[in-house]
Amino acid sequence: MAKADFNVPELGESIEVPAIKEGSMAHSSPFVAKPQFQEALGFKGEIGENWKEDTLEAMGDLLGKYRSLQVYMDICVKCGACTDKCHYFLGTSDPLNMPVGRQDLMRKVYRRYFTFAGKFFGKLGIPGFVGAADLERDMLDEWYSYYHQCSECRRCSVFCPYGIDTAEITMAGREILARIGMGQKYDNEIIGKVYTIGNNLGLPERALADTLEGLEEDIEDDTGVQVKLPLDKKGADILLVTPSADFFAEPHVDGLMGYAKVFHEAGVSWTLSSYASEAANFGMFIGSYKNMREISLRIRKAALELGVKRIIFGECGHAWRVAYSFLNTLAGPFDFLDQKYPIPQHILEFTWGEIQKGTLNIDKSLNDDMTLTFHDSCNVARASRMGDKPGGQFVIPRNVIKAVCNNFVDMDPDTIHEKTFCCGGGGGLLTDDLMEVRVKGAMPRMQALNEVTQESGVTHMAAICAICKSQFTKILPYYGMTMDQIVSVHQLVSNALILSGQEDTDSDDEDDVA
């Protein structure tokens, strides 16, 4: 079904480092946000005459606020370790998609206006002598293009001997652009919907209630057991915050039904919130602390109003980074929650806990039609943790999969755990106007998947991020695979979980993994 007006990379025997093709992705640029969406987030409506002053002012502000940004601008020694680590470079051959190339777009401006050497040689008219450059208008278009060819996945930072995090540079680049009137349509319209409706999709309360009711019916049809998906239930113990894609898309929704079944069997009381019906925090994608904080505060408010004791996050990669790493400073203190439990907790931690306690009646053979592999989502892998041991974010999802499936094979070790490749659609790039960069950037992951398919008969790949799931649904067909090969981890749990009082599981002969 997938038609492409660009060349889809061919999968070979292994991931090869391509010869560079300068400017090969210079045409890629997402739609710019319209003034009303810009202004709604507190940004300038559109770029004006004073673009140069605006840019340097925003950059100076960020350099003052974030010491990390200034350090990253200063310390690169051009060692080259990062050059072949970015999936977008591997898939596009464009040298500005090498992490150092992407960093230098900003670094040369930083040197020119914020270092003594750059100011000195700049005044002499030879800023290039110290790697500096005068800020020109077309450089902002170049920033806009290449800072939207980075998914902020941080793989390069694992290999940088100085630990330079290109994601933070991309975030700064996007924040500067947004402030001067060049925000991205996809990200900014979505943040606007969170403020006006409560979630990225713009799913109003009534539609959400209707959708959840439909899911309750589906579970009852399948199992004969009434499993509730409560909304805005005051006094529940647990607030589940999950990406709105879980209500809307496949295979996400199969995961949501899995969470509901696990909660049901664990015998806990839980609820969703219509006000905080979104886990994903696009404020992080555009580097905007202010927006990231406002979105996070919605979760705090919902938790207080509903009077819950615990907050659990559903399968959502970037949400978990914000939740695990920043929620307490953005929206804390969470002293009103039960301190016996992790604040916040990941749904996989919860499910793994129940599996260990033996609360769940699992029949692994119900997943025997599949051989699974697991895609570590970038922000879970490199920016968070699960459980109480280092590396828990790698171990716990695999433990849960192995507890509910007989057939599991890992991909090439250079492409998993902290070295995982991004799906290609993370960090605010999951939009149709960036399809070329999404398809090309998915190449390394597709390559690794193809290898285990050929060698070990892997049929499906599980993930724990809404973006990964949507991206792969779209991208797999470009590489000759099928959209239903991507599954939710809790979908696997749901398949294998026999509910107390459940009727014969073979009564429904339809395989619903569509």
């Binding site: 979630n199 713009g202 799913l203 894609a245």
Partner: protein, 110 residues
């Protein structure tokens, strides 16, 4: 790029979705599908009409499962799945069918 339907010029956004949902007339779906080289059959119209009814009630496109369930109920269980819908609308029921129906594009992590 605006489209011309029944002699009227209608505004669309960068991605070809109607700028104003109230501009929709059945001719919109005809014109858009022609551009995609897709011939609309009664099966397509069943989906387009359902999308419009749902939107009118809930102000959002239906979730994939809501849509497949409704289609399954109306047209038989064998048709209540994503495969059937992608067969009709190769670019995806959410995106292609919504566009023909004049609905805003569902965006988010989908």
């Amino acid at each position: 790029m605006p489209i011309e339907v029944d002699g009227k010029v209608l505004e669309t956004d960068e991605e070809g979705y109607l700028a104003n949902i109230n501009d929709w007339v059945p001719g919109v779906a005809d014109v858009m599908s022609k551009e995609d080289d897709l011939e609309l059959t009664d099966e397509h119209w069943d989906i387009i009409n359902f999308l419009r009814e749902y939107y009118e009630e809930y102000q959002i496109a239906p979730a994939v499962r809501v849509l497949t369930k409704a289609v399954g109920k109306k047209l038989g269980k064998d048709k209540g799945n994503s495969k059937y819908l992608y067969g009709l609308f190769p670019y995806g029921p959410g995106k292609q069918a919504c566009r023909y129906a004049g609905l805003p594009k569902p965006t988010g992590c989908v």
